[in-house]
């Protein structure tokens, strides 16, 4: 952990993610205007960033075509986007750890079937599957979370499986069996704790990916539905006014890229720290 704090990338990642999460949690404090507040549409629409409107309200990132404050929409959108990402990653991490450790501990057909399913799902074009599922049922945040969770567990499973095989070959596992420990006890007490670090790495990388995909689905109109602002639907709404008000689409995009970069860097440096520790 101390090594992580010394690594510039990890520091950057943690700081950006912390700021994003805090701003999302404290959204009503971070902005004084509601994300859907409209006053005089004609007078307040398309204000450029840093402008003050005739009501004396300051718009740090300008306003969109309905006169809504872009910064406030961004902040409330973070709640949706980050929330969806976190919950989706939670589902896929739990699933991945389950499949990975099970495949590591049980041999024979169980392992074969589990690994087969993992490889099969890994080979599917994820967006195609997501589009299919998201468009079949009525689009909603819950559906997006479940679908992202169900299509994102494979990388976790593979990393955890690799780690569990390593653990299973260690002497203390044989010792535990010799002392009469059940397979379940070995799994819970020995394999699971060791598999948590790789799962964490995969989760950090998966978080960035999930946010990006959520935004993509919302962008295509099959994700989180308006008027709830998600970063993807904000980009989509800014697309129509790209020429006269580029900031509407640019702001959520920059926020999205920052968060994804942060989670990628954090995942990278955790992984390297792990490799240094095991001397691999």
């Amino acid at each position: 952990m101390r090594g992580l704090l010394r690594d510039g990338r990890a520091r950057f990642g943690m700081i950006v993610l912390a700021i994003a999460l805090l701003t999302a949690l404290a959204a009503p404090l971070a902005t004084t205007i509601g994300p859907t507040t409209q006053r005089d549409v004609v007078a307040t629409r398309f204000l450029p960033p840093l402008a003050t409107d005739l009501h004396g309200i300051w718009h740090p990132l300008g306003t969109d075509r309905l006169g809504r404050d872009v910064w406030s929409r961004l902040v409330y959108g973070a709640r949706v986007s980050l929330g969806v990402g976190l919950l989706a990653v939670l589902i896929s991490t739990v699933l991945g750890i389950g499949v990975g450790t099970a495949a590591g501990v049980w041999r024979g057909p169980v392992r074969g079937v589990l690994l087969g399913i993992t490889d099969f799902t890994l080979a599917l074009p994820r967006v195609v599957l997501l589009l299919l599922l998201a468009a079949l049922w009525r689009p909603s945040a819950a559906l997006v979370i479940i679908v992202l969770g169900l299509t994102g567990w494979m990388s976790v499973a593979r990393l955890v499986y690799g780690e569990s095989r390593v653990v299973m070959a260690r002497a203390f596992v044989d010792g535990a069996y010799a002392l009469g420990a059940s397979r379940r006890r070995v799994l819970v007490r020995h394999v699971l704790p060791n598999a948590l670090t790789p799962a964490l790495v995969a989760a950090a990388l998966g978080f960035g990916n999930a946010i990006m995909l959520e935004a993509g689905l919302s962008f295509l109109g099959v994700g989180v539905q308006p008027p709830a602002p998600s970063w993807g639907s904000l980009i989509a709404s800014g697309r129509e006014t790209l020429i006269n008000a580029p900031w509407v689409a640019l702001a959520p995009g920059v926020a999205l890229v920052l968060v994804v970069v942060a989670s990628t860097l954090l995942g990278d440096s955790v992984q390297e720290a792990m490799e240094r520790r095991t001397g691999g």
Partner: protein, 310 residues
Amino acid sequence: MAGVVTLTFILLRLAPGDPVERMLGPAATPEQVAEQRRALELDRPLVQQYRSWLGRVSRGDWGTSIATGRSVRTMIAEAWPATIRLVGLSIALSYLLGIAVGALQASRSGSALDTTLSVSTVTLFALPGYWLGLVLVMVFAYWLRILPAFGAAGMDADFLSPGARLVDGLRHLALPAMTLTLIGIGGTARFVRAAMIDVRGAPHVAVATAKGIAPAQVTRRHVLRNSLIPVVTLLGLSLPALFSGAVFVEAIFAWPGVGRILVEAVQARDYPVVMAATTISAVLVVAGNLLAESLAVLVDPRLRAAEVSR
């Protein structure tokens, strides 16, 4: 692949939402709806529908699009070359440039240049394709006005000479291909850099240097070559992701490929088209994987030896 097809079929039929109601509109009488359902065989049991669909597909009959009334086969036949053109060009460019950038970084690892490039590649890697696409459209189509923003050919394409038509096609290809390429460079360069730094620590590289071989040659013959083997494997693994990226990019640029057809068909609940587009994308991905595997054998003689001795 059979799994993908079956899964798609079951999911489609389980989902709520009826294509017939959408097709005929709210004014349709129940009799009309029932009539149309019979015509589309939607009233028969699921297993029977599946069997008759499989039978028709194996004879090359993909059915008719519910939304447009056109033959699905023609629609897909028109679309897949466009997707291959876009994805193929982007893969080639992003691997060439990505390997170059990654190799440059590895040879100067730790320098300011390496750090700068690392920051740029991780940013490229994190860019969502649809957003990068929008930014590129803004810069090149609206501000600079040098490239067209959407489609695969200009309105006047049919009246141009063959040479001019080729230029027109390339100009339309430029922005979507640039979007996919830029994102691809990020992932490839990061991977190549890590692989090369890894290989550089290997004993055989130390031996080669000890023998007095010039550093440039050691890098080219011993480090780069060995680093490219995992890169080829990565190519196969990254195909699903590339195809997924293409879906967004095609939607943004109105590129007439399989991805855009899929997006439109999903929105219209056009079952036959969704089935066909999903199947085609699975076929493209599986074919690409096989290609990458045989490429890996070509690059790495050790794999060839393993095949023979088995």
